[in-house]
């Protein structure tokens, strides 16, 4: 009787430990996402400019607070100041700025845009490079990713990675994979305790199948992290 009670006690302690591990992981993710909510955004089109074609730099300064906000800004193209100013933004609105000019750089040469803003909410810097990554690095990673996922026709641009795996949107494939992986790992851990105690046949079969799924997801997850790190380093 005492032994059974002790096993039950240990099992519960393990479940509590795993639950709190999940709480810390999710809380960390939540805090990271909230702190990354940037009041400035910048996009440049086209992503691969040709000589003589127009380049349009668009940046948006948002005010998600309930008070009017004055923001001063500077836009640099390849280190040269091209626009500076200040804008008063009413609550819950944004101010959009566009700078369009003809590209004079040869194909393959990189052009860098840097936006600096300063307001009572703090100082922010946003940098965008065109093309976003050195061509050799981009082609090798895209080839690897396209081959491994069998969607070679769509995985050809940086935009694809940003939309699918980037942190631009709240929920994306990377986050879904991470959450499913966490849930599976929790299940595997919890199931282990139950199997040890009772030896439930169905649970053993599920556990074996899901262990394979978890392994595959873990490989994908590591791939996403690896690609992301390399892309961050390449900026």
């Amino acid at each position: 009787m005492n032994r059974q009670k002790s096993i039950l006690h240990n099992g519960l302690a393990l479940k509590i430990g795993i639950t709190w591990l999940c709480i810390f992981l999710l809380a960390g993710f939540f805090i990271a996402m909230k702190s990354n909510a940037n009041p400035i955004s910048m996009s440049i089109i086209p992503e691969v400019p040709k000589i003589g074609e127009p380049i349009v730099a668009t940046f948006k300064i948002s005010n998600s607070t309930d008070e009017p906000s004055t923001t001063s800004y500077q836009l640099y193209i390849n280190g040269k100041l091209v626009e500076s100013g200040s804008t008063v933004i009413v609550p819950q609105t944004s101010s959009k700025h566009q700078y369009a000019y003809a590209n004079t750089l040869e194909r393959g040469e990189q052009v860098n845009f840097v936006l600096k803003t300063s307001s009572d909410r703090g100082n922010f810097v946003k940098a965008v490079s065109l093309p976003a990554y050195p061509p050799q690095l981009m082609s090798s990673f895209v080839s690897f990713a396209a081959f491994s996922t069998s969607v070679m026709s769509s995985m050809i641009s940086m935009e694809y990675f940003t939309n699918i795996f980037g942190a631009a949107s709240g929920i994306n494939t990377g986050i879904v994979v991470s959450l499913v992986l966490i849930a599976l790992l929790i299940f595997l851990e919890l199931a282990q305790g139950v199997i040890n105690n009772k030896g439930v046949g169905v649970l053993v079969r599920y556990r074996l199948s899901l262990r394979n799924v978890a392994t595959i997801l873990l490989i994908i997850f590591i791939g996403i992290i690896f690609t992301r790190i390399v892309m961050i380093m390449a900026i």
Binding site: M33, S64, T87, S94, S95
Partner: protein, 125 residues
């Protein structure tokens, strides 16, 4: 109910709470309403300065626009109806440019300070 079981149930409730917070409170990417849009575009023969002014208030608002191309100053004013947008366009030709400094300022109503002020450093060619 044992103390450990109670702690486990409380932990699960906290976990569910954080899950809901993540699902609903993480920034969704929905951008706020655009109240102003300022553009400068290089055309074939000139630069085009364009500003969309949206009156977010519930009353008519007078806007005064100053465009300074190097030393020459151009003034305009417009009254925008509530919840309406007015598009201001100003053409800047290469022969007007000396230093290449173009300043745009937008004043709203009686306010002494501009609500939008931008300086462009543009090339003559």
């Amino acid at each position: 109910m044992s103390r450990l079981r109670l702690i486990f149930i409380l932990s699960l409730i906290i976990l569910v709470g954080i899950f809901i917070a993540v699902a609903y409170l993480v920034p969704s990417g929905n951008s706020p309403v655009e109240s102003r849009k300022l553009q400068i575009i290089k055309g074939d023969k000139e630069w085009i300065l364009q500003c969309n002014i949206t009156n977010e208030t519930e009353r008519d608002v007078q806007y005064i626009i100053h465009v300074i191309v190097d030393d020459a100053m151009y003034k305009d004013s417009v009254v925008v109806k509530p919840r309406k947008t007015y598009t201001y366009i100003h053409h800047i030709y290469p022969q007007q440019l000396d230093e290449g400094k173009v300043t745009f300022a937008l004043y709203e109503g009686e306010k002494a300070e501009p609500v939008e002020q931008a300086t462009y450093y543009i090339d003559k060619d």
